[in-house]
C-alpha cells in the first residue's frame, strides 16, 4: 500500500502567485508607473508573503506543541518582547528603517519567548500548562513596562501603535531577504521533522515510548517557530490573527497531520496576508490602513463562525 503523499497543498502555490499578481496591479497602475510597481509594490508583496508564511507556520507549530488549536504565535511572550524592543528603539532614537531596529525587535521577540521557555522548565520539564502560564507572566510584565514607557514618553506613541497593529513600513530589501531566509529555513526544518509534531500530540509518555525525546523535540520546534515569528515581527510588527486563523482553517481542509499542515499553513499565511495587505494599501488610498486592522476584521467573523460550528459539534 502506498502512502498518500499528495501534497494537496500544492494548489496553494499558484494561488499565492495569483494573489501577488493581483496585488501588484491593484491601485492606480498607470499613475504609479513601473518604478513604483516594481520598486515598491513588489518588495511589499514579498514582505507580506514572508511575514504571512512565517506567522502561518509558527501558528501551526504552536498549536501542535501546546495541543490547543486556539494558540497563536504570540502566546508565549513574543509580541510583548517585540514591542519592548520597539519601545527601546524609540527611547534610543533608533529609526524604524534602521537595521538596528530590526535587530532589536528580533532579539526582543526571540529572547522573550526563550525566557518563557526557561521559566517553564523550572519544574524539570516544560509542560504545556507551565508554558502557557509563564507566557502570560512574561507578557504581562513586559506589557506593563511598555505601558509605563508610553505614558512617560508619549513622543512616539503613534508609531508604536502602528507597530503593535502591524503594518508594512517601507523597509530595506536586505532585511526582507534576511527574514525570507529565516522563514524558509524554519519551514524547511518543520517539513523535515513533521512526524514528531504528530507524535507529540500523543502526550509526553507515549511519545517517549515511540522513541522520541519529547524535550528535545519541543525545544527544536520551539526554536523554529520562535525564529520564524521573530523574523516576521521584526519586519512588520505584531500582525494579529494570521497565525491563529490560517492553521485552523487549513487543518479543516488538509487534516491535522503536520505532514501537510506546516507547509500549507505557510503558503496559506502568505496568501492571506498578501490579500489583506492589498486591501490595507489600496482601499482608502492614500490613507494607509495598518494591515493588522484588516486581519482583525477577518478575525471577528471567523471567531463567530467558529463558535457556531463548534457549538453544533
Amino acid at each position: 500500500m502506498r502512502i498518500n503523499r499528495s501534497l494537496s497543498v500544492l494548489w496553494l502555490v499558484p494561488a499565492v502567485a495569483a494573489a501577488a499578481a493581483l496585488a501588484l496591479f491593484t491601485g492606480a497602475v498607470r499613475a504609479a508607473g513601473p518604478e513604483i510597481i516594481w520598486g515598491l509594490r513588489l518588495p511589499r508583496i514579498l514582505a507580506a508573503a514572508v511575514v504571512g508564511a512565517g506567522l502561518g507556520f509558527s501558528g501551526a507549530v504552536f498549536q501542535g506543541l501546546l495541543k490547543n488549536p486556539l494558540s497563536d504565535p504570540y502566546i508565549l511572550g513574543t509580541s510583548a518582547g517585540a514591542m519592548a524592543g520597539a519601545v527601546l528603539c524609540s527611547a534610543l532614537g533608533i529609526g524604524r528603517s534602521a537595521p538596528a531596529f530590526y535587530l532589536t525587535v528580533f532579539a526582543g521577540a526571540f529572547s522573550a519567548t526563550f525566557f518563557t521557555y526557561s521559566l517553564a522548565k523550572i519544574k524539570k520539564y516544560a509542560s504545556t500548562a507551565h508554558l502557557v502560564l509563564s507566557g502570560v507572566a512574561v507578557s504581562t510584565f513586559l506589557t506593563a513596562l511598555i505601558m509605563l514607557f508610553v505614558t512617560l514618553y508619549r513622543e512616539h506613541s503613534l508609531s508604536l501603535v502602528y507597530f503593535l497593529l502591524g503594518g508594512f513600513f517601507p523597509a530595506d530589501s536586505a532585511l526582507l531577504a534576511v527574514s525570507g531566509v529565516i522563514v524558509a529555513v524554519s519551514v524547511a526544518g518543520g517539513a523535515l521533522l513533521w512526524r514528531y509534531l504528530d507524535i507529540f500530540s500523543l502526550g509526553e509518555e507515549k511519545a517517549a515510548y515511540l522513541g522520541t525525546d519529547p524535550d528535545r523535540m519541543r525545544l527544536v520546534f520551539f526554536a523554529l517557530a520562535s525564529l520564524s515569528t521573530a523574523a516576521a515581527v521584526a519586519l512588520a510588527g505584531t500582525v494579529g490573527f494570521v497565525g491563529l486563523i490560517v492553521p485552523h482553517v487549513l487543518r479543516l481542509i488538509c487534516g491535522p497531520s503536520h505532514r501537510r499542515l506546516l507547509v500549507s499553513s505557510a503558503l496559506g499565511g502568505a496568501l492571506f496576508l498578501i490579500l489583506a495587505d492589498t486591501v490595507a494599501r489600496a482601499a482608502a488610498a492614500p490613507v494607509e490602513i495598518p494591515v493588522g486592522v484588516i486581519t482583525a476584521l477577518f478575525g471577528a467573523p471567523f471567531f463567530i463562525w467558529l463558535l457556531r460550528v463548534k457549538g453544533e459539534g
Partner: protein
Amino acid sequence: MRHKKTSGKTLPAAGVFAILGLCAFSGHAQAKRVVSLLPSYTEIIFELGAGTELAGVSTYCDWPPGAREITKVGDYLRPNLEKIYSLKPDLVFAGTWQGSSVAQDLRNAGMKVVELPEERRVEDIYRTIGLIAAELDRKKEAAALIKKMKAGLKSGPAGTLRPLIYLEVDEGGWTVGARSFLSDAIERAGGRNIFAGEEKGYFQASWEAVVKKDPAAVLLLSGSASDFGRRPLAAGLKAVRNGRVFTGLDRDAFSRPGPRLAAEIRKLKDWLRESGTK
C-alpha cells in the same frame, strides 16, 4: 488669594479687606484658579502673563519650563477628574473634541468648562487666544500677543516659488490634510502640502502615495534624515537627491497651535528660501 481670619482684631481685618478691595480695582480681576488640558492653551496662558493662575495642566504641558512644576492632571483625552476636582478650579480649558465626554463629565462634577474650538487654520489661533484672554481678563496682553504673531508671520522676504512639501509628524507616514492647521502653516511658510487635497486632519499616508507625488522638500518632525533616505525608492526622490530634507523644526513648537508657531513658520520660510527649494 486667601485671607487670614483673625479673631478679635477687627481693625487689621478691615485693613486687609481694604487692601483686597484696592487690588480688585487695580486692573487685574481677582486671580482665578485655572486648569488647562492642552499644551497650546498652557503656552498661551503663560504668554498672556497668567501662568501663576494655573492650578493644573495636562501631562504633556512642558513649555515654558515653569509649566513642568504645575500639578499634572492627566492627558487631554482622559483627564483625572478627581484630581481636577480636588484642585477646585474656577474654570477648565478644554477643546471641543469629537466624541469626547470630558467637558460634560467635568460639568457634571460642577466645574465651569470653556470649550475652545479646534484650530483648522493658523488664524484660528488668534481666536483661541482671544477666548482665553476674555476669560482671564487679559485683553491687552492678548492684543499684544496677536500683533506679535501676525508680525512674525509677515516677516521675512517671501519666496516666489511654492514648492511641494511632505510633512511627516510621526515615523510611518503620519501626515496632515487640509483640516489641520499644519497644512495652513506650510502654506504660510510659502510651500504647498502634498496632501492638502485630502479632507482630513491627522492621518497615515501610504509610502507609495508620497513617492508618487515626489515632493520638492520633506519636513521631518521625528526621525532622522538618514533613516528617511534609507526607505525604498527614497534615494530617487527630488527632495533627497537635492538634500532638501529638513529636520530643523522644533516638533512641539511647530505642532502646537500656540504662540511659538509663528517663529517656526519663519524658520521654515527661511530654510525654503535659502535652500532654493523649488
